[in-house]
């Protein structure tokens, strides 16, 4: 320890009604270093960061910055102490332009309170140039993808020079590999400038790429703080979950059946072009590519969330016109969106209502909901999927990300479709829940379902898929069989 410590937390305790979220945590961040914080959802990472950022206040314990005791009781106070935080779930104003977004809450004004837009434009241009990014300053945020916005958020936070302590909560959950490299370059340059970075992540390869120190939290307790060199991936995973994972991917050999989904030269103007592929029963197909390659857009068009210009969608040998989500759902094709909060859950309603939402007709007799049947089905499904919830009447918003995802999956399982379109099914959920989602995918494939998965995590695709299609700039650039899988082969196709 000593002089080099920038931020020090001492004996931090925090309880919420009914749960002890943090139990006697001692944590410190040094100058010019990256301290990775990892742990499953519910381990207390976010609570700890929110205490540092002034969103919550600790019940007991002290926070020191530069060895001076500080009282952080609001995010504004945190900012004054040089703490800057990038949240995992982005909140942004869709109508704002790139330029405006850079200066929100920090507008340079003239003496008379007039906003100096010239100065802002100059600043924004400089920042983008400095960071090597090419965005039109007048583009509205609503016209950008999540990953673009995330990148801009990060750039904004790091360009704010007064920040000495930068907290990043899973900054890579929505961005592609090249963008991750860009981000890591930024982080390294920040480290050289002597900043303290606290980096929260689930992704092991990332953690070991960027960390100087690693701290693992489990159930509100600190289980290890060690330099990276003294740890390896298996150790960290087992510290996080408290048990050894025998294998990372529960892939099984499943007999491939009939062709269930066939897509012929699907086109959508300026978004994707001539998409041809098929999926068989029992098969797990991966879609790889950089963010912006058009993978999600293909899935959305198939599911009826967006329209397509031309092409054929053939399910079980029958040509289908998809104009709305009803068309795809009625033909046994469902989609799990990458944006769970937006397209997946009804947060203010119960686990039960969310689970049966897509298949209510199943529970209607003479216009009346059969409550008993509903309860039975939902309880059985929750048990099968291992959804951790106090009761099926709990609001979905009260569950952890992984359990919310399981509820969305459960909704589609109740519907019992033939084809699952999964868009980043494990994004933002912890290792244990990921493994359960993989197991579910395998179980579905075993039952003869066809699965199509878009993922930005190559290990996941390589571990779970039978075939991988790679997309680049709206076009399919290749198809790989399982024996040909390698990160290098996929990346080569992905960059075009």
């Amino acid at each position: 320890m000593g002089k080099n410590v920038k931020l020090r937390l001492e004996n931090i305790d925090k309880s919420f009604p009914g749960v002890k979220a943090l139990d006697n945590i001692n944590f410190s961040a040094e100058k010019g270093s990256v301290h990775v914080l990892c742990g499953e959802n519910g381990a207390g990472k976010s609570t700890l960061m929110k205490i540092i950022n002034g969103v919550y206040h600790q019940d007991t314990g002290n926070i020191y910055i530069d060895d001076k005791l500080v009282e952080i009781d609001s995010p504004t106070k945190a900012k004054e102490h040089g703490i800057s935080m990038i949240f995992q779930e982005l909140d942004f104003v869709p109508e704002m332009t790139v330029e405006e977004n850079f200066v929100t809450g920090n507008w340079p004004t003239s003496k008379f309170g007039k906003v100096n837009w010239k100065k802002i434009r100059k600043q924004a241009k400089e920042i983008l140039e400095k960071e090597g990014l090419d965005y039109d300053l007048d583009t509205k945020l609503k016209d950008l993808s999540i990953s673009d916005i995330q990148l801009l958020e990060i750039v904004k936070a790091v360009s704010y020079d007064a920040a000495d302590i930068i907290i990043m909560d899973e900054p890579t959950s929505a961005i592609s590999d090249t963008e991750i490299d860009l981000l890591f370059d930024k982080i390294r340059s920040l480290r050289e400038r002597g900043k303290s970075i606290i980096y929260i992540s689930h992704k092991m390869d990332e953690i070991f790429k960027i960390a100087d120190m690693i701290t693992v939290l489990r159930d509100g307790q600190l289980v290890a703080t060690k330099p990276k060199e003294e740890l390896d991936i298996e150790t960290v995973i087992s510290l996080m979950v408290g048990r050894k994972l025998s294998e990372n991917f529960p892939k099984e050999d499943i007999e491939i059946g009939e062709e269930i989904l066939k897509v012929k030269s699907l086109n959508s103007h300026r978004i994707f072009k001539d998409i041809d592929f098929n999926v068989h029963a029992g098969e797990i197909i991966g879609f790889s590519g950089l963010v912006g390659a058009g993978r999600t857009e293909v899935l959305r068009a198939l599911f009826g969330l967006d329209s397509y210009d031309s092409g054929e969608i053939i399910i079980n040998g029958k040509k289908i016109d998809v104009t709305s989500t009803n068309d795809s759902i009625d033909n046994g094709m469902v989609m799990l969106s990458e944006d769970r909060r937006r397209y997946g859950i009804i947060p203010v309603r119960s686990v039960k209502e969310n689970t049966t939402l897509a298949n209510l007709e199943e529970f209607i007799y003479n216009g009346r909901l059969h409550r008993q049947k509903e309860i039975e089905v939902v309880e059985e499904m929750c048990e099968k999927m291992n959804v951790k919830t106090p009761s099926i009447d709990t609001d979905v918003s009260a569950l952890s990300g992984g359990n919310q995802q399981k509820v969305v999956l459960a909704k589609w399982m109740v519907n019992d479709p033939d084809i699952f379109l999964l868009d980043e099914p494990t994004r933002g959920i912890d290792v244990g829940a990921k493994f359960e989602i993989y197991k579910l995918m395998t179980a579905l494939a075993k039952r003869g379902k066809a699965i199509l998965m878009v993922s930005s995590e190559l290990p996941e695709l390589i571990g779970m898929c039978d075939r991988i299609y790679v997309m680049s700039e709206g076009k399919l650039t290749g198809e790989l069989k399982r024996k040909d899988f390698s990160q290098e082969a996929i990346m080569k196709l992905a960059v075009g």
Partner: protein, 325 residues
């Protein structure tokens, strides 16, 4: 895990019955303040007084749950009631008059629904426009004159079955219908989902526009019935009647726990909200509060109800974050 369950249960109970406790408190305090309050006659009176606005409030609750709104219900009530009275005077048929009221109100609400679903107008604006149009149409129809001598038409609002006045019977029936729709039908579930997260509802295969239209149609039926009861009670066809009823209906719904951000609300809550409003008005009258002051108090109460709604939501999210993270 067990603690969490208990905590969860407790907050649920508070959430569910908090407003009921307010009602009981108000009831007890009112009976202590004024001895006239606790008479069967006064209580029946209150029920009858609130019946029309509560019927509107049931429709409003269904709409707000779905992320919609109706500001036109007072005006549409007047137009529907007026035309109904007029048809009765021409034909002498009570049944036909009743049907006309419903048809007119449903028609206006179909226009509301088309504006909201097909032309994607915000419900606030669409129904604000309807509020002006329906009122204008009512005044135009009689050239601003009232229609008197409505004869047997009074049976809808002034009659009774046994000792129960007809408005209260309608109030109870429509309450049950609302409860049934929200709790026991596919439509109800879909509306909660649409109000809770419209995009997720679309992605779950719910025909959102169709359900929204149905919500407005149901609202139209309620408004039409309210129109019949209203004209029958005031013993005339009043093109200028029921002004400001949308405010009373909204107040009852919001106080009853319907969340303005959608996805949350119940028929039972609305009844409680309506009685809170009714008791307050009644006790203010009994103790002789100046009617202008009453209006200020009513405005203050709806502001308080919304503040309460926002705060509980914040608290809920906060305690949930605690559970999760």
């Amino acid at each position: 895990m067990k603690d969490l369950k208990l905590g969860d249960k407790f907050s649920r109970i508070k959430q569910k019955y908090g407003i009921f406790l307010v009602l009981i408190l108000l009831f007890v305090v009112s009976s202590l303040i004024n001895s006239n309050f606790l008479s069967v006659r006064n209580l029946t009176n209150i029920s009858r007084q609130i019946s029309i606005t509560t019927i509107l409030a049931f429709g409003e609750t269904i709409l707000i749950i779905s992320g919609l709104l109706d500001l036109s219900n007072g005006s549409v009530l007047a137009l529907a009631g007026l035309l109904s009275v007029s048809v009765f005077k021409m034909t002498g048929s009570l049944i036909l008059a009743f049907i006309v009221a419903i048809v007119v109100a449903v028609f206006c609400n179909i226009i509301n629904g088309i504006m909201v679903t097909k032309f994607e107008t915000p419900p606030f604006i669409a129904t604000l426009a309807m509020m002006a149009m329906a009122r204008g149409a009512a005044l135009l129809y009689t050239n601003g004159q009232n229609i008197y001598r409505i004869g047997d038409y009074t049976v809808f609002g002034q009659g009774s079955i046994g000792f129960v006045p007809t408005p209260i019977i309608f109030f109870i029936l429509i309450g049950i219908v609302t409860w049934y729709i929200l709790k026991h039908t596919r439509l109800g579930r879909s509306l909660y989902a649409i109000g809770g997260n419209e995009e997720a509802a679309v992605a779950s295969g719910i025909n959102v526009n169709r359900k929204k239209m149905l919500a407005y149609i149901v609202n139209g039926v309620f408004v039409g019935i309210a129109g019949v009861i209203f004209m029958s009670r005031v013993n005339a066809g009043l093109p200028n009647g029921a002004v400001g009823f949308e405010f009373e209906a909204l107040t009852s719904s919001i106080i009853g726990g319907t969340s303005f951000s959608g996805g949350v609300g119940t028929a039972g809550g609305t009844v409680i909200g309506a009685f809170i409003v009714g008791f307050l008005n009644n006790i203010m009258n009994l103790v002789g509060v100046n009617s202008y002051v009453q209006q200020i108090i009513r405005g203050g109460i709806i502001a308080l109800a919304v503040i309460y709604d926002t705060r509980t939501k914040k608290m809920r999210t906060k305690s949930q974050l605690g559970n999760v993270e």
